[in-house]
């Protein structure tokens, strides 16, 4: 993927074929890996959030703003937590209308039964105590 001087990467997903979304997600990963200047990542609506994408975000050197909106994201491996723990540069996190789905619920197939876990969120603030 050719590197460009891009500061904002925005992707509006839509419901549909899961495989198609997975391919799209891989495409996003490639863009993130090859464009290290991206500061703002906006993902909307049914973007497939694979572990590869988590890793791409986690390892990205410049991301400061994350907008993950109108989606369901799993906490299967504490990936969100990992991102925010390792990617210290993230200053702006927008999870509007995004359901953080507990692992077991996700395993049961989507987030029909919503089980919100804010453990991840709570953990974000703990450091300043120490």
């Amino acid at each position: 993927m050719k590197s460009r001087n891009v500061h904002t990467l925005e992707f509006n997903g839509k419901s549909g074929d899961s495989n198609q979304k997975r391919i799209t997600c891989q495409f996003l990963c490639d863009i993130l890996e090859s464009n290290t200047n991206i500061k703002r990542l906006i993902l909307r609506q049914s973007t497939r959030f694979t572990s590869n994408l988590y890793k791409a975000i986690e390892n990205h050197p410049s991301l400061e703003e994350l907008h993950i909106t109108n989606m369901g994201i799993g906490t299967k491996e504490g990936l969100l937590r990992k991102i925010l723990n390792t990617s210290r540069r993230v200053k702006y996190l927008n999870l509007n209308r995004t359901i953080i789905v507990a692992a077991d619920t996700e395993a049961q197939g989507g987030y029909g039964n919503i089980s919100v876990s804010v453990v991840e969120v709570r953990s974000l603030f703990r450091a300043s105590k120490s």
Binding site: G78, R81, R89, N96, A102, V121, R122, L124, R126
Partner: protein, 359 residues
């Protein structure tokens, strides 16, 4: 999801904005978040809004329990310490139809949560402290400050009051202004409270000094201007004190009459970013001086009227009506006694008297 406490503690973050709107949060979730906010000093904006009518699964259902948890973290008004230790950094955006319930209701605006922490952390803290002092008409400092009734605090306050009366014509070798004298008074444990109130001003030795604290507050009284018109003798005047008393009375009335114009104006000042104006400063002085400072003035009977000294040119020099004087104590002690002269009235307080008052 089980995450051990040690894991939680090791996390660090740079988050300044967190938007959790419409994420299906419940009271339990908000309580957890509020608990985390107790120790956080980085997060500046937390959005928890969510309008009904959207997808049901996304609406944040935050009822009174969650709101109470948040309010207690952002503004725990149970004591001055708890106010000072509240989170002054994070602004919480929450749906406007949600109301805050604090122990100070109904003095506070229902949507207080939406207006808390709008300024800098320092201003937010000061805003809250002043709000408590104001809303409780001074009672907020009552019980807590009983343990801090160290008269060393009072000279600092009064030094601030009299600071604007500094007159270059007065012989400085005989008069030591209290402001200078107490400038390096170590307030010990009381300094912590003042630090919390006025912004962590301890020096490296842990001492809080008047010179650190009170320059932040502008002079309570306006500077007296020289009246050089004509040959008439300028007469000593208690104008400034009268003005001060008048202001206090105005505020006192305002506390009782909620519809009073001063009250409304004062109330608005809390919503004004420039709330640290004269009136707010006056209020905190009012609260403290009224409690301890004014009784000192009635401690001793007034002295006979002192003649006004005439200048070399035959004109009587204008003499300030109020002066503070500190006489140096023995070696190793900063002050043996202090006196306050207001017109013909002079009050002398010795260190022994101070000690006896304290006991």
């Amino acid at each position: 999801m089980e995450i051990s406490q040690s894991q939680l503690l090791k996390y660090d973050h740079s988050l300044e904005h967190l938007n959790l709107s419409n994420t299906g949060l419940t009271n339990d979730d908000v309580v957890l978040i509020a608990d985390a906010l107790k120790f956080d000093t980085k997060l500046r904006v937390l959005s928890l809004g969510g309008k009904k009518g959207r997808k049901e699964r996304c609406t944040n259902e935050i009822a009174s329990r969650g709101r109470k948890a948040l309010s207690e973290v952002l503004f725990n008004a149970s004591s001055l310490d708890s106010v000072a230790n509240s989170n002054h950094t994070c602004r919480v955006d929450i749906a406007s139809d949600l109301h805050l319930h604090t122990s100070l209701d109904p003095c506070f605006h229902e949507d207080l949560l939406n207006i808390l922490n709008k300024g800098s952390p320092k201003d937010n803290r000061r805003w809250k402290v002043l709000s408590v002092l104001y809303a409780t008409s001074g009672l907020g400092i009552g019980d807590e400050f009983e343990t801090y009734q160290n008269l060393k605090v009072i000279p600092e306050l009064l030094a601030f009051v009299t600071a604007s009366f500094e007159d270059e014509n007065l012989p400085t070798d005989e008069t030591i202004l209290v402001g200078d004298e107490v400038a390096h008074v170590n307030l010990g444990p009381h300094g912590d409270v003042l630090d919390k109130l006025f912004g962590g001003l301890s020096d490296e030795n842990g001492a809080s000094s008047a010179s650190n604290i009170f320059p932040r507050l502008s002079p309570l009284f306006p500077e007296e201007t020289e009246d050089n018109s004509g040959d008439e003798l300028s007469v000593e005047s208690d104008e400034s004190f009268d003005s001060y008393d008048s202001e206090l009375e105005d505020l006192d009335d305002a506390f009782e009459e909620e519809e009073d114009e001063v009250y409304e104006s004062f109330d608005k000042s809390f919503l004004d970013p420039a709330f640290c104006g004269e009136r707010a400063r006056l209020t905190i002085m009012f609260q403290v001086v009224q409690k301890w400072g004014l009784p000192l003035l009635d401690k001793t009977p007034p002295l006979p009227e002192q003649p006004v000294a005439a200048g070399e040119d035959g004109k009587q020099k204008r003499k300030r009506s109020t002066s503070w004087k500190c006489e140096p104590g023995k070696k190793g002690k900063k002050t043996s006694r202090m006196s306050l002269k207001k017109g013909s009235k002079e009050v002398v307080i010795s260190q022994r008297e101070i000690d006896s008052l304290l006991s």
